[in-house]
């Protein structure tokens, strides 16, 4: 069994084995590490619920902001005055005209309803599903690793092949958690090792 697997076994057995009122580890006293790791992963993925709330808030705020259009036009050249009857030329003017235009449009009807709200609402539900899938995956991986670690301890007499396969799976699960949650998973793992 690898050092990491042994450390996991010790951590888990401290937390759960022994008598019915077993001592939780210091790390477990303030919450469930898997639940806390899942929260970190969700934030790392940018799938936290605050994001969806901010979309809806922005849609509502947007109705107060105008749509701005700015334009500028400059005419340069000459203009001649010609009699259409005899084609006589009366004069020539130089043209230098600047036109600046600004237009602001407030769509106050969007205070009552903005079609963007529908899209934001749909995305909110999608984000919630993503969040749920991610958090449940983290919890599943975390506890599979813990279970394997306990089983390794329970079956001290297991065949070397079995033990090696378990250790490999524990390493694999640790790597998967680290890929999902980044440094937080590694810190959690190292915390157990200590």
């Amino acid at each position: 069994m690898t050092r990491r697997a042994r450390a996991l076994v010790l951590g888990v057995l401290c937390a759960g084995a022994g008598n019915a009122h077993a001592t939780p580890t210091a790390r477990l006293r303030h919450g469930n590490p898997a639940a806390e790791l899942a929260r970190v992963c969700v934030r790392r993925a940018g799938a936290q619920p605050e994001r969806a709330r901010s979309w809806l808030a922005r849609v509502r705020l947007a109705a107060w902001l105008p749509e701005l259009r700015l334009g500028a036009e400059r005419d340069l050249g000459t203009r001649e005055a010609i009699d259409p009857q005899d084609r006589a030329r009366y004069g020539t003017y130089t043209l230098d005209e600047l036109r600046v235009e600004g237009r602001a449009t407030w769509r106050l009807d969007r205070l009552a309803f903005d079609p963007e709200e529908l899209r934001a609402s749909r995305e909110t539900v999608r984000l919630a599903e993503l969040r749920q899938d991610l958090a449940l995956t983290v919890v599943r991986l975390y506890y599979e690793r813990q279970r394997l670690a306990i089983e390794s301890q329970l079956e001290a007499e297991a065949a070397p092949r079995e033990t090696a396969l378990r250790s490999a799976r524990i390493e694999e699960l640790s790597a998967m958690l680290e890929a999902l949650c980044g440094p937080a998973a590694r810190e959690e793992d190292q915390g157990r090792d200590q």
Binding site: A15, G16, A17, G18, N19, A20, H21, A22, T23, P24, A26, L28, R29, H30, G31, N32, A34, A35, E36, A38, R39, R43, P49, P66, T94, D96, E97, L98, R99, V100, E101, G102, R103, A104, T105, W106, L108, D109, A112, F113, E117, L118, S121, R122, T124, V125, L127, A128, E129, Q132, A135, L136, V138, V139, R140, Y143, Q146, R147, E151, L154
Partner: protein, 364 residues
């Protein structure tokens, strides 16, 4: 954590939560921590004195919990428990009373009271000195009302701005006149200004009008709540077996139909045009009001809201089921004679509790 899943009494958990402005404090059996980001991250503020007794016994016995209650008075964090009455000020932890205490109350202008053993200790100078008197028989909770100290034989007692003194009884939250303010079995109640939070084994409620009307905090059903504190706005922070979480009342799904004035809100267009020639200048201002007479797409909006609501309730239902299952598995684990099988069963209970938290926290 595992102990909390298996205990019958949630009050046995030795953790407590307090809030001072934007800073959250939590105390456990070993340390006091603070958070400035609504409980996302915690930093250690002090290590609590180690108990001479085995941690299991101290944690499982509600009367001997290392920390039972936590309160903030100015810049001092006060806590009571098996170690007595402790104060944390500028990172320094000091023991004010060296006797096991079970209840704590703080009031404005430095008033502190603690129920320690069979004595009721009061201080008017922030804990610098205490006067003692015999505690009323059966007193379990204390609260300051103005300059008077009130005691109660139950754990839930609070002084609210709207309903006055309220306490948790079997029939619900009752005020001094005997009126039931919340007809649900509650275990504890805490008040901060006009915000009052009450909670029981499977539910929690929040009042923002001083305890007159309560709204449920539905996500509480997916947790084992140890302690709660109003967040001062629209929800409450809860210390649970899976960490500190923020609970909010259910959003108002049934938005009222927009009024005619709202539906006829115009589109306002303002145009400014400036023209400059060699010998002349011109400025044109044009304002246009467009009134949309067609109704907004209500059916589509209702459908979207309905989908969101259905999804929310389905997820909440799943989370509550997982939490119930976690409790059942933890209880059944204790019947197993083999300690190793019991460890695996308890691990499964922990996993189910973590799944419940993952699902409820994913709610849109």
């Amino acid at each position: 954590m595992i102990a909390s899943l298996t205990e019958g009494s949630h009050a046995a958990r030795a953790d407590a939560l307090a809030r001072a402005g934007g800073v959250l404090w939590r105390a456990g059996p070993e340390m006091v921590e603070r958070s400035t980001d609504s409980g996302l991250t915690w930093t250690r503020a002090a290590r609590l004195p180690a108990s001479d007794e085995p941690a299991d016994e101290a944690e499982d016995d509600p009367e001997r919990a290392p920390v039972r209650q936590l309160a903030v008075l100015g810049d001092t964090v006060l806590m009571v428990g098996e170690a007595g009455l402790l104060a944390l000020q500028s990172g320094q932890l000091s023991t004010l009373v060296r006797a096991p205490c079970r209840a704590l109350a703080v009031g404005g202008t430095g008033r502190v009271a603690a129920l320690c053993g069979r004595r009721l200790l009061t201080s008017g100078d922030g804990g610098a000195s205490f006067q003692g008197q015999p505690a009323p028989p059966g007193a379990r909770a204390i609260a300051w009302r103005g300059g008077d100290l009130v005691t109660a034989p139950t754990d839930g007692l609070a002084v609210t701005t709207g309903a006055g003194l309220v306490r948790c009884e079997t029939g619900g939250l009752v005020d001094e006149q005997g009126r039931v303010r919340l007809r649900e079995p509650c275990r504890c109640v805490r008040a901060e200004g006009a915000h009052v939070v009450a909670w029981g084994d499977d539910a929690a409620w929040l009042s923002t009008d001083g305890g007159i009307e309560f709204a449920p905090l539905p996500a509480a059903a997916a947790y084992d709540v140890i302690d709660m504190i109003p967040d001062g706005a629209e929800g409450a922070f809860a210390l649970t077996d899976v960490g500190v979480v923020h609970l909010r009342p259910e959003p108002d799904w049934d938005e009222p139909e927009a009024s005619l004035a709202g539906r006829l809100a115009p589109r306002v267009e303002l145009s400014v045009q400036a023209r400059q020639r060699a010998a002349s200048q011109q400025l044109t201002v044009l304002a246009l009001l467009t009134l949309p007479l067609d109704a907004p797409a209500r059916p589509a909006a209702s459908r979207a809201r309905s989908a969101e609501r259905t999804r929310t309730r389905a997820m909440r239902s799943r989370a509550v089921r997982l939490r119930q299952l976690a409790r059942h598995v933890a209880r059944s684990a204790h019947k197993l004679p083999d300690p190793k099988r019991r460890a695996l069963r308890l691990l499964r209970a922990q996993e189910l509790a973590a799944q419940a938290s993952a699902v409820i926290e994913a709610v849109p």
